[in-house]
């Protein structure tokens, strides 16, 4: 059972972390993109 | 085709005048053989013979990396790479000239390194010299095209000396597998088996075609 948890756990954590990293990087890009604007039309 | 000969001639003449590439490759190979001597347990002929193919090809690959790292260095220093790119012919022939000159230099180093290996470890390679030379040549013809293509890329990046082995070694698996197996068969049976020769021929052919075409996109400006 611990093997199964290890396999799914490492997959979920890695993909989850990667998703967070991508979303944050995108948010940062969109912010620097329109420095003068309040609203983000993305 | 005339471009191939011109590039080949130019490379060999400059190499003959300075001899620095061949000497660097050669000294390095001999040092590796000496390191083998100190690092490996002393054994008698037949024990060493089992490991000889692998040990030899490690020397050859490292020697090739040293030579390839310098293959485009001179062109880079004189900005001659742009000049080569401007030659109004198919750039594949420029590539072929470079690859053939690398293969020739590597063959010289291989012959001398194998002789040194035979002396240091007291194994008899000379009675199989012809068959060994054939397998070495087939392996070299596989290393040279990919090595030349990737060296032309690596030379124009940061950390080029580090990047070249990282790019090249995983790409060499098919040719090294065939060459090591073929060398082992020569040492065991006197001649390589059909399977390894076939593999080397197929891999060499595919490498040459891909690299010939791919070089067009690597060399420009």
């Amino acid at each position: 059972m611990s093997y199964v948890i290890a396999a799914y756990g490492v997959t979920a954590l890695t993909l989850g972390g990667y998703a967070l990293y991508l979303l944050r990087a995108r948010a940062r890009e969109q912010k620097t993109r329109e420095p003068g604007q309040e609203t983000n039309n993305g | 085709m005339r471009v191939l000969l011109a590039i080949l001639w130019k490379d060999l003449v400059t190499e003959w005048r300075s001899r620095d590439r061949v000497i660097a490759m050669l000294v390095f190979s001999l040092l590796v053989v000496i390191v083998y001597h100190f690092a490996l347990p002393a054994g008698t002929g037949s024990e060493v013979l089992v490991h000889t193919p692998g040990l030899l090809w490690v020397v050859f690959v490292f020697a090739a990396l040293i030579g390839l790292n310098r293959a485009f260095a001179m062109e880079l220093e004189n900005d001659a790479l742009s000049g080569l790119a401007l030659v109004p012919v198919d750039r594949g022939w420029v590539f072929a000239g470079k690859a053939v000159s690398t293969a020739l230099l590597l063959s010289i180093v291989q012959a001398l390194a194998a002789a040194a290996f035979a002396l240091v470890f007291d194994v008899d390679l000379s009675s199989r010299a012809l068959a060994l030379a054939g397998v070495f040549a087939l392996g070299t013809l596989g290393i040279a095209p990919v090595g030349t293509l990737l060296a032309a890329m690596a030379v124009r990046t940061r950390f080029r000396e580090v990047l070249l082995p990282i790019l090249l070694l995983p790409a060499l698996f098919p040719v090294l597998a065939g060459a090591v197996e073929g060398t082992a068969e020569v040492l065991r049976d006197g001649s390589p088996a059909f399977a390894s020769v076939q593999l080397l021929l197929v891999v060499d052919g595919i490498y040459w075609i891909i690299c010939f075409i791919g070089f067009d996109y690597v060399l420009d400006e």
Binding site: A7 | L163, V203
Partner: protein, 237 residues
């Protein structure tokens, strides 16, 4: 506006929404999947390991095809999609290489064997790791993109060559020869299907998101390099 075309953007939104549903179904079906009579509960790694493998191979194929399209059409968007394919492919491949030995340790008793498929996958992983290093060590311009495209094509050409080597020199594998539907036990088909679907949709979502990020980065680089265009845009808004 975001960094994707209208179609790709819609596909990403849809796949993101679908992914939420699929994750629930995935967890539920895997938890309720029957326990294998021979291997025991560890067999449930089946529902994550092969789907990761398909994602990895798909990523590398995308990289090679987009690299070729970039060389052909000279359109940078293909190159950015190639980056996305390589990066997501490397992550899926890493996870496959991690989950495989976990399964192997539990069933074969050892972490690693030089099984043909393992060997080829490991080599492929190194090739695409080298691809990403080539990108990061290059100057980042069109030249780097061209080098990477050529290297990506060399990388896929290596897949059949490596299999050819293994076929010639033998080496029997521990992997089952073929994952046909019939080889799955009763009740295992559905979780396997759901697992494949979930990780495939996740793969698409990741690739599209990574593509969008790369497009946004390229756009902001372009703006930074061209103050005139930036001023014009500010006046327009």
């Amino acid at each position: 506006m975001n960094g994707l075309g209208p179609v790709a953007s819609k596909v990403r939104t849809a796949s993101g929404a679908l992914l939420g549903l699929l994750l629930i179904a995935y967890a539920w079906t895997v938890a309720n999947a029957p326990v294998d009579s021979v291997q025991g509960v560890i067999q449930k790694i089946l529902y994550v390991h092969p789907p990761l493998a398909y994602g990895a191979y798909l990523g590398f194929v995308i990289t090679a095809i987009c690299g070729a399209l970039y060389l052909w059409k000279d359109d940078e968007r293909w190159d950015r999609l190639a980056i996305a394919g390589a990066e997501v492919g490397v992550i899926f491949c890493t996870l496959m290489i991690v989950t495989g030995p976990i399964w192997a340790k539990g069933t074969w008793g050892k972490w690693w064997s030089w099984d043909p498929r393992l060997t080829v996958t490991l080599l492929l992983w190194f090739v695409y790791l080298a691809y990403l290093l080539l990108r990061s060590f290059g100057d980042g311009g069109a030249r780097t993109a061209r080098f990477a495209a050529v290297y990506g094509l060399v990388g896929v050409a290596l897949i059949p060559l490596n299999y050819f080597v293994i076929e010639i020199f033998g080496g029997r594998g521990m992997h089952p020869e073929n994952l046909e539907r019939g080889s799955l036990g009763d009740g295992m088909g559905l979780p396997f299907l759901v697992g494949n679907l979930t990780l495939f949709v996740a793969f698409c979502w990741f690739v599209l998101l990574r593509w969008e990020l790369e497009n946004l980065r390229a756009a902001s680089l372009l703006r930074a390099a061209d103050p005139l265009a930036r001023a014009r845009e500010e006046i327009a808004t």
